[in-house]
């Protein structure tokens, strides 16, 4: 059994130094996250993704990314996107509250790096297209790389202008690129993209989709040739491309994409997007899960995506962008590496501990003689632990535990139940509907009243496993539920 390590602070305050001292007394030397790569990942690839939260499910518990909204200009129109409106309470791709110049972006990155020790990745994801608005993207990366050499750089693009810049991306050591690919058939593409702007002309219909598709594939092949890790994002649009995404998955796998992230369409009428206004619905959580299951065995799937904004800051489940708006950042900031450095040492210890605990729990589950299956929802704010109160949670992580192991299958956004010290009755009602198909809810704390209401709706909620590792708790739960040999808790 590994030494119990002092719980990792993922909260805002808390003394890193104290935690580090406590961790060091555990007696093992800090190394990279996870003393060894998980079994299903090539060690060389693991080295490149172990601290990228969007490329590694393990890393997303510990590491944070930030996006700087320096690239507002866009060369295509998608039916699920409307960049005209920004609401501070909205969270969806393509939305940003303030656009930044490369110099403002640099100051923001330094301010965040000084305050958010988990920061490991800087991404440019728009709010337009990072490759089309290339001058600003490039200027930002050059400035940041000079000041903070160890930050990973990544971009997200629609792919149309990507082939023009692959060489420069490689030169700037951009090691992670995400292309949004929603179709490999222009007939379907024409229903998603009303127009594109390419080589000084606007194209529409099938022709537009065909050009976009060819450029996306060319860009993907060029990236793979340069050995740049490439993730593919796809938006699942029921009745438009949902069945077709199986085909997309095959295409991108055959061309060497590292990971495929299938996300649900967000189409609230209030967002004013074409799909929002025409009543095109997004998929239900269980529909998305079923599609994910159909894609198993193809390109590796990402199931922990939070569909974050073009100006998100922080761990994937914990957006801190409001702390770093333009008026909060002084014009003169100097990078101080100490917090990030100390945090990395701490993570090295904790992460190895977590991997070991996770392995034990999964082994216990898979070796049990039971064909039972549970859907378990968890509230967490990072660190791989059940450390969020039910009343504070804005999302649920959904795990399925069965003979196949303990697997994250998705996340569901919920309204915050506890606001200003009071539980909101109306919110609880919507949370109950978001819990569809869930057997058990695990959280750090839950009051008797919501617990009772959830039980009436058929969901058992418990804080008995508060602050445990997620997999350890689920393993113990599985053992209790199906009468298999329980595990000795490790942390």
């Amino acid at each position: 059994m590994p030494q119990p390590v002092k719980q990792l602070e993922t909260t805002r305050k808390g003394s890193l130094d104290g935690a580090l001292r406590a961790a060091k007394s555990g007696g093992c030397a800090p190394s990279s996250c996870g003393l060894s790569a998980p079994d299903d990942i090539d060690p060389a690839i693991w080295e490149r993704i172990k601290d990228h939260p969007c490329f590694s499910e393990e890393a997303h518990h510990y590491f944070a990314r930030m996006h700087v909204a320096v690239a507002p200009a866009c060369n295509i129109q998608c039916n699920y996107c409307n960049r005209k409106y920004d609401c501070a309470n909205e969270s969806r791709p393509g939305v940003a509250s303030e656009k930044l110049t490369p110099d403002q972006a640099l100051r923001k990155v330094i301010a965040v790096a000084n305050e958010v020790p988990q920061l490991s990745v800087l991404g440019i994801a728009g709010p337009g297209d990072a490759c089309y608005d290339w001058k600003k993207t490039k200027a930002t990366f050059e400035r940041v790389a000079r000041e903070i050499p160890d930050i990973k750089l990544c971009i997200s693009t629609n792919g149309l202008a990507l082939p023009d810049h692959v060489d420069e991306l490689a030169e700037m050591n951009v090691d992670h690129v995400t292309i949004t690919i929603n179709m490999v058939d222009p007939e379907i593409g024409a229903k998603i993209y009303p127009w594109i702007f390419y080589r000084h002309r606007r194209y529409t219909g099938i022709e537009a989709a065909r050009i976009l598709h060819e450029r996306q594939m060319l860009g993907l092949e060029m990236l793979i040739k340069k050995d740049i890790l490439t993730k593919i994002n796809s938006v699942m649009i029921p009745g438009v491309n949902d069945a077709h995404l199986v085909e997309v998955n095959k295409w991108v796998r055959d061309r060497g994409a590292f990971m495929h992230n299938v996300m649900p369409l967000i189409s609230e009428p209030s967002h004013g997007t074409y799909y929002g206004l025409t009543g095109q619905r997004g998929p239900q959580p269980l529909e998305l899960e079923a599609l994910h299951d159909r894609l198993e065995g193809g390109a590796k799937l990402m199931r922990h995506c939070r569909q974050c904004r073009a100006d998100a800051v922080g761990l994937l489940g914990d957006d801190r962008r409001r702390e770093f708006t333009r008026d909060h950042i002084s014009s003169d900031v100097t990078y101080n590496a100490s917090k990030r450095h100390a945090y990395r040492q701490l993570v090295a210890l904790e992460c190895g501990d977590h991997l070991a605990a996770r392995k034990d729990a999964i082994t216990a589950v898979t070796s049990a003689e039971s064909d039972g299956q549970l859907h378990v929802a968890v509230t967490t704010k990072g660190g791989g632990r059940i450390n969020e109160h039910f009343g504070h949670a804005t999302e649920l992580q959904v795990y399925v535990v069965s003979q196949k192991g303990i697997n994250l299958v998705g996340n569901r956004k919920i309204g915050q139940y506890c606001l200003g010290g009071w539980g909101e009755e109306a919110t609880l009602y919507s949370i109950i509907s978001a819990l569809e198909g869930i057997d058990i809810l695990l959280c750090a704390k839950i009051g008797d009243s919501p617990k009772k209401r959830l039980a009436e709706a058929g969901v058992r909620a418990t804080d008995a496993f508060g602050y445990d590792y997620i997999e350890t708790a689920i393993g113990a739960l599985y053992a209790a539920e199906f009468g298999v040999k329980p595990l000795v808790a490790t942390a």
Binding site: A73, R83, D133, K135, F197, H200
Partner: protein, 64 residues
């Protein structure tokens, strides 16, 4: 003849500034404006007005 930008509809994405072959579009104060002295409506250079072609919002880059 020149084009103009309807400021109330403009998302300030800046794509038109980038595409304009005559450098006629600049960010002034709080909005993008077309300099009518420089704007050629892209005649002799492109088949379509570049600002209107790239603009993500309909009817926002229009004849003045």
């Amino acid at each position: 003849m020149a084009f103009k930008i309807i400021a109330s509809q403009c998302t300030q994405c800046g794509a038109c500034e980038y595409e304009c072959p005559s450098d006629a579009i600049t960010f002034k104060g709080e909005k993008y404006v077309v300099d009518p002295k420089k704007c050629t409506e892209c005649r002799g250079e492109f088949d379509t007005q570049q600002c209107a072609s790239v603009c993500p919002v309909p009817k926002t880059c229009v004849p003045a």
